[in-house]
């Protein structure tokens, strides 16, 4: 009882209030607010819900100044808790640039390497994977995907073989722009996969009807590409105000609004926005923290976006 001597009722209640906020306060005091992560259904491994794409943005060839700038973007990405980097042989020099940037950064521990096989000829698949490993400078990829379902039957067989041999951790397939959803649905039903990648954003929500529920049912992780419709969402909304209730989900800008809508869907594992600008990376990674909308607020977000 001696510890309570001199403690007024007001002081006691203030102390109780402070204690109630302790976890949130403690995490900031520790300098590391908890990032939003999602479990990969096939393994239970958790990865950050915001990753990074490299279509166009990292295809800078041999330009040293641009490569250095991209390394800064990656540094910020990892600093803010990012994990998945997604690329493809189709993206020109992106894989080489990513590899160069990773070497400059010393291969951050949080890296989740994801790329694709993209060739018409199944015989070329293994060589393309080997080349990708060399470009990235990694011994094995976390995720290898069949890009845009190109010759998926043959390439999936290659990926399964390599996964069994330990050369790949996860396998998947991709589509984009809402194309070939019927075929993707058949693949999801019939083929054992760890990941699918498809287009899903606040305006392109077709995947909600069948693919996302099916992926959840089949225990397949989902990566959302084109989260901003290749900047089109910003062009549509940049002059419009954020809704006054955006603060309820800790959104300070449209990038976070769009990304939190995506990653709040229970079937989505990760969104992969691409950017070539450091300030935009900072905005994107802000979506990895704070509150996410529930189902009711998601509906409200859609209504708000469509009304604009």
């Amino acid at each position: 009882m001696h510890v309570l001597r001199g403690l007024s009722r007001r002081r006691f209640l203030a102390g109780l209030g402070a204690a109630a906020t302790l976890p949130w306060w403690a995490s900031f005091a520790a300098g590391a607010p908890a990032a939003i992560t999602r479990a990969i259904p096939s393994s239970g491994e958790r990865i950050p819900a915001i990753g990074m794409g490299t279509w166009i943005t990292f295809n800078v060839g041999g330009d040293e100044a641009l490569r250095a700038q991209r390394a800064e973007i990656l540094r910020l990405f990892f600093e803010r808790g990012g994990g998945m980097i997604d690329s493809s042989p189709m993206y020109g020099s992106s894989q080489a640039v990513v590899g160069d940037c990773l070497r400059r950064l010393g291969y951050p521990a949080g890296l989740f390497s994801a790329t694709k096989v993209w060739t018409l000829f199944d015989g070329d698949g293994p060589e393309q994977i080997r080349e990708a490993r060399s470009l990235w400078g990694v011994e094995r990829f976390d995720l290898m995907q069949v890009h845009n379902l190109l010759n998926w039957e043959d390439h999936l067989a290659t990926l399964r073989r390599q996964k069994a041999e330990g050369g790949i951790r996860y396998i998947g397939v991709t589509t984009s722009h809402g194309r070939r959803h019927a075929e993707l649905e058949r693949i999801l039903r019939d083929e054992p996969l760890d990941f699918v990648q498809l287009t899903y954003n606040i305006l392109d929500r077709e995947a909600e009807q069948r693919l996302l529920p099916l992926a959840a049912e089949r225990g397949v992780a989902v990566i959302a590409n084109r989260p901003f419709r290749r900047k089109q969402l910003f062009r549509l909304f940049q002059d419009k105000p954020l809704p006054p209730w955006a603060g309820e989900i800790d959104c300070a800008n449209w990038a976070q609004f769009f990304l939190k809508f995506i990653v709040s869907h229970p079937a989505i594992t990760c969104a992969i926005p691409a950017t070539s600008q450091v300030p935009h990376m900072a905005e994107n990674m802000g979506a990895l923290y704070g509150r996410l909308p529930d189902a009711r607020l998601r509906e409200r977000m859609v209504r708000y976006a469509e009304a604009l």
């Binding site: 060839g61 641009l66 020109g92 020099s93």
Partner: protein, 220 residues
């Protein structure tokens, strides 16, 4: 949608020019020479002009598309094949067989050809420069694909005997360049491609008319 931005595209061109400075200077001179030679009367100038064009198309196919641009664009190896094919056509038709007559024909077609030639040799690099791409990225006929296609069509249009088969691949590249200009917002490429399209049509029309005239003369 292309896998690169306009800035990256011009950055590649600038480094390509810097890596091959002597060739760039030679190409600039060769382009002007090719246009100037059309005003000479000697029949042999056609072989010289054809050789200059063939060398340019070959260089671009191998060094630019295959070795340089392919790092940015997965379609570049296909473009390389097209450019090498055009080089072979020029070499066979214009140099080996001497079946072209690229001497200046004058008239409306000649005037149009001079305008297109000036666009390829002067207007396009000036437009690149004024668009803020820097001197190194200012494109050069017989070194870079788009002004080379334009210069080739200009020479074919100015010719006394237009060779239609040699206009096909330059026209195809003009479509590619125009589409690229549209997507990447490079207006000078879009406008030059439109001009190339008009020139190609004129080459086909003049070539057809010349052939019919030649057949008619033969009948008589």
């Amino acid at each position: 949608m292309l896998p690169y931005t306009a800035d990256v595209w011009f950055g590649v061109i600038a480094r390509y020019h810097q890596a091959h400075e002597i060739v760039a200077a030679a190409a600039a001179l060769a382009g002007v020479a090719a246009l100037a030679l059309t005003f000479l009367r000697a029949v042999s100038v056609t072989r010289i002009i054809s050789a200059l064009l063939a060398a340019g198309w070959l260089w671009i196919g191998v060094v630019f598309h295959y070795q340089t641009f392919a790092t940015l664009n997965f379609a570049a190896p296909v473009y390389a094949l097209l450019f090498v094919a055009q080089s072979v056509l020029l070499a066979i038709t214009g140099v080996a067989r001497g079946r072209l007559d690229l001497r200046f024909a004058g008239g409306v077609a000649g005037a149009g050809a001079l305008a297109l030639g000036a666009a390829a040799l002067v207007a396009l690099p000036v437009a690149d420069l004024t668009a803020g791409q820097g001197l190194n990225a200012a494109r050069i006929a017989l070194m870079d694909p788009t002004p080379t296609a334009a210069l080739t069509l200009a020479l074919l249009l100015a010719a006394r005997a237009p060779a239609r088969h040699l206009a096909v691949l330059p026209l195809a590249w003009s479509v590619v360049a125009g589409t690229t200009g549209w997507i990447l917002d490079i207006p000078q490429d879009l406008w030059l491609s439109v001009a190339c399209g008009v020139a190609a049509v004129a080459v086909f029309v003049r070539g057809h008319a010349t052939r019919r005239q030649a057949s008619s003369n033969a009948d008589h």
